[in-house]
């Protein structure tokens, strides 16, 4: 193209003679039709092979099952075989290439379409209400991987972040053991627990072993085992937790968690209580 532009440019204003008129050439036109056709055939066959290899891969026996439920601006992770329910931070075991333990994700949505995307682990798959989608990941390196929702789902779509922790088998076993325990129940923070159970908190959140069994918001049974609040927006510290409960819009304007209009004493009590849920 550059060659054409330089070679065939007009040289000088007085150079007005018209060039030779050529109308077409069947031979070259055939060439630049047939060659792309061949390229497309090869490219398609390669693509199709990879599609079938990924989408139709049978699930190995050793695979981990996780059900992912998309909610407006947070992620629910259920481990049906382990009886664990958590949110926003997915823990999975490292997969050893010799005896792979991939994680098979079943993707559901509680409201609108979301999309599960952790770019370093896999492509994305949508979570569509009224439809069950599946995908799998097979991580070979431990560490924390960041991802987020990739299909616009409302005001706080941008802050529907998620983290995947790929743990060594030992770390993962320890994590599972802790998650399977019921919620901590220390008599010293009974006041905070009472606030939680008598306010509307319990309508939306679950804390295993208490009266709170709501499913609209994240399960808080082991809240303090998570590194972040509000689906990855801020670090899970005591101050942030208190501010998040007091006024969710500070961190996440338009989040569906309401500001509960608690007084300072209630806020302190409830923060103290939640801080014990390790």
């Amino acid at each position: 193209m550059a060659f054409v532009l330089v070679r065939y440019r007009q040289r000088g204003q007085d150079d007005t003679a018209e060039p030779a008129q050529i109308y077409g050439s069947t031979r070259v036109e055939m060439a630049w039709t047939v060659i792309p056709v061949l390229i497309v055939v090869v490219l398609f066959l390669t693509t199709a092979r990879v599609i079938f290899a990924i989408q139709d891969a049978p699930e190995p026996k050793a695979a981990m099952d996780v059900t992912v439920v998309g909610h407006q601006y947070w992620w629910e992770f259920d481990y049906p075989k382990l009886g664990i329910r958590t949110a926003n931070e997915l823990h999975i075991p490292l997969s050893n290439p010799d005896s792979p333990t991939p994680t098979y994700l079943k993707l559901l949505s509680a409201d609108v379409i979301h999309s599960f995307w952790v770019s370093q682990l896999s492509g994305k798959t949508d979570l569509v209400p009224n439809k069950v989608n599946e995908m799998w990941i097979d991580p070979h390196k431990t560490g924390m991987y960041e991802g987020q929702c990739a299909q616009f789902c409302g005001v706080q779509h941008a802050n529907m972040l998620l983290r995947v922790y790929v743990d060594t088998p030992e770390q993962f076993a320890a994590w599972v053991k802790n998650q399977q325990k019921p919620a901590a129940s220390d008599p010293s923070i009974a006041a905070g627990r009472r606030v939680f159970e008598t306010q509307a908190c319990m309508n939306c959140h679950t804390i295993a072993g208490t009266a709170a069994t709501g499913r609209f918001g994240p399960d808080l049974t082991h809240l303090m085992s998570r590194d972040t609040l509000a689906s990855g927006v801020v670090a899970n510290t005591k101050e942030n937790l208190r501010e998040w409960i007091r006024h969710p819009d500070t961190f996440k304007e338009g989040s569906l968690m309401p500001a509960m209009q608690l007084n300072d004493q209630q806020l302190d009590q409830i923060t103290a209580y939640l801080s014990t849920l390790r």
Binding site: Y23, E29, A48, G123, G154, G254
Partner: protein, 563 residues
């Protein structure tokens, strides 16, 4: 056209005798009630350029918000409205109207006719489109309805259900979105019927189908596609409104509806729509490239076949927008293949343009500069498009900034560049004056630099995992610097477009007088005066070949000998 710059106070103070109130009313009336294809073409173009500026301003606001991580230039709610309105405006109010601006003005002139086939339908179509646009923007005031302050649509321009259902969007903004697109959609349908009827039934003597300028051919394919594509869109909008107000459950997933059906309906419109927008850009390039290369278009029959081929193939590629929605592996493979096939006819076009330039004598006037840049950019856009047709790649790239970069390479790099090329090329015919070449070159180079600064860089954050439609992003993801560069490029483009706007207005008053045929071109519109009289041609022209004017200028070597 730029008579509009006479404001009423000026008239009252400066030239009270020449412009009485009755004169102004008569002048206004002549535009509002006109059925002349040239005046309607100008109205379409002014409308398109106006909304290009509006949509551009929205884009700049979006880019300022994304300049740095965790910026607070606009609230998340406003940001979501901005990108929804930016997309809707650019596709429906800019893209769909520039097509009919060019088609209306030029097709009758190119085929030697005195008007479009249905002049009154033409006027109706324009005014439907016009009021559809007003309705969309009125949502800024009325969209909130009973729920408080007004707001514009904020559910993205593809408006995936069930987010648009009343459970999740209780205000009226989705209604404004749906209704205004139904109204502009009817305008598009009317205009498309008109283009097809005109091209097939209004041709002058000697203008056989195989002598039609490629511009007209491409507009016929465009209009056919528009007819096929707008219909499912309108149907789905009606279904959405039934869901929202008459208790329907088409897309209402909470009552057993299907979100996937909306996606199918939308993209069976949405993908042909891309070709509806880009084929008129090809149409412009097909006229500009030969004239400024001083050669006949290379492989005319293949160009016609490729255009029709693109039209056909584009009807079967829609679900490549849905590779991540959970289709079967066979479905994914089918749409990968059909998408790759589009590359063949578009490749033929690029090769033929290059062959047209090969051995020519290229004049780098502003229209040609825009077309050359268009060719390179469209090639890149095509290649990134093929990348995304490879489904496993698309699982990674879908809905990321890579896709945004890809389709802006098509929409800006191809369509807007050709739109500018076309305006520089035909402005002298419309107004009788040349656009300033000096400002034109400034416009071109600034826009080119801005374009590449923005959209070349934009591919990278997509590969790094940055999804689209996000109003902010965490600082630790490392996307900040890239986004800053992208935003700076956006501002450079905005400056270039402002230079263009100045050029449009200034040249109307001070531009060089153009004459009938300033570019030494070959199609029939250059045989009549600039601007053309109401009746276009004093005597019906006769087309002796694909380039009737070449035959007149070169009686020793006319085209018809070679056809």
């Amino acid at each position: 056209m730029a008579d509009t710059t006479y404001t009423i106070p000026d008239i009252v103070e400066v030239t009270p005798r020449r412009w009485s109130q009755a004169d102004i009313l008569e002048w206004l009336g002549s535009w509002v009630t006109t059925v002349d294809h040239k005046k309607l073409g100008i109205l379409y173009m002014l409308y398109s350029i106006f909304f290009l500026l509006v949509g551009g301003a929205e884009a700049i606001a979006i880019r300022i918000q994304l300049m740095r991580p965790e910026m607070h230039f606009v609230s998340p709610q406003v940001f979501n409205r901005l990108f929804t309105m930016h997309g809707t405006t650019m596709v429906f109010l800019v893209g769909m109207t520039y097509i009919f601006g060019f088609a209306n003005y030029l097709i009758p002139l190119m085929i030697g006719a005195r008007d479009m086939a249905f002049p009154r339908l033409n006027a109706l179509s324009f005014w439907l489109t016009f009021f559809g646009g007003l309705l969309l923007y009125y949502s800024f005031i009325g969209g909130g309805g009973l729920y408080g302050a007004g707001n514009a649509p904020d559910t993205t321009w593809w408006a995936y259900a069930p987010l648009t259902e009343r459970a999740f969007s209780p205000g009226h903004s989705p209604d404004y979105w749906a209704l205004s697109l139904i109204v502009t959609g009817f305008g598009t349908i009317g205009a498309s019927i008109n283009v097809i009827a005109t091209a097939f039934s209004m041709r002058c003597k000697g203008m056989t189908l195989m002598r039609l300028p490629l511009f007209v051919w491409l507009n016929v394919v465009t209009s056919t596609l528009a007819l096929l594509a707008i219909t499912p869109l309108t149907a789905s909008q009606v279904m959405l409104l039934i869901d929202r107000y008459l208790g329907g459950h088409f897309f209402d997933t909470q009552a057993g509806g299907s979100a996937v059906i909306w996606a199918h309906f939308f993209w069976i419109f949405g993908h042909p729509e891309v070709y509806v927008l880009v084929l008129p850009a090809f149409a412009i390039a097909n006229e500009v490239i030969p004239v400024f290369s001083r050669k006949a278009i290379f492989g005319y029959p293949a160009m016609v076949a490729a255009s029709v081929g693109i039209g056909f193939v584009s009807l079967s590629v829609w679900a490549h927008h849905m590779f991540t929605i959970g289709m079967t592996s066979v479905g994914n493979a089918f749409f990968a293949l059909s998408t790759m096939l589009v590359g063949i006819p578009t490749g033929i076009k690029i090769f033929n343009w290059l062959a047209t330039m090969w051995g020519g004598k290229i004049r780098f006037a502003t229209p040609m500069l825009f077309c050359v840049a268009f060719m390179v950019q469209f090639l890149v856009a095509g290649l990134t498009g093929i990348m995304q047709s490879v489904v496993p790649w698309d699982w990674q790239l879908h809905n990321s900034y890579f896709v945004i970069a890809h389709f802006h390479y098509v929409l800006v790099g191809a369509i807007i560049f050709c739109l500018f090329a076309g305006i520089y090329y035909w402005y002298p015919k419309v107004t009788g004056r040349m656009l300033s070449e000096k400002l034109g070159k400034w416009h071109f180079w600034l826009f080119l630099i801005g374009f590449h600064t923005t959209f070349d860089v934009m591919h990278i954050p997509g590969i790094l995992g940055m999804p689209r439609s996000i109003y902010t992003y965490p600082a630790d993801r490392g996307w900040g610097t890239l986004n800053m560069i992208i935003s700076i490029g956006g501002i450079i483009q905005a400056i270039a477009v402002l230079i263009f706007a100045v050029n449009l207005v200034r040249s109307y008053f001070k531009g060089k007088i153009a004459g009938d045929d300033p570019w030494d071109a070959w199609t029939l519109e250059w045989t009549t005066s600039s601007p053309p009289p109401d009746y276009n041609f004093a005597t019906d022209p006769v087309a002796t070949s694909r380039r009737p004017l070449w035959d007149l200028k070169h009686p020793e070597d006319p085209d018809w000998k070679y056809e």
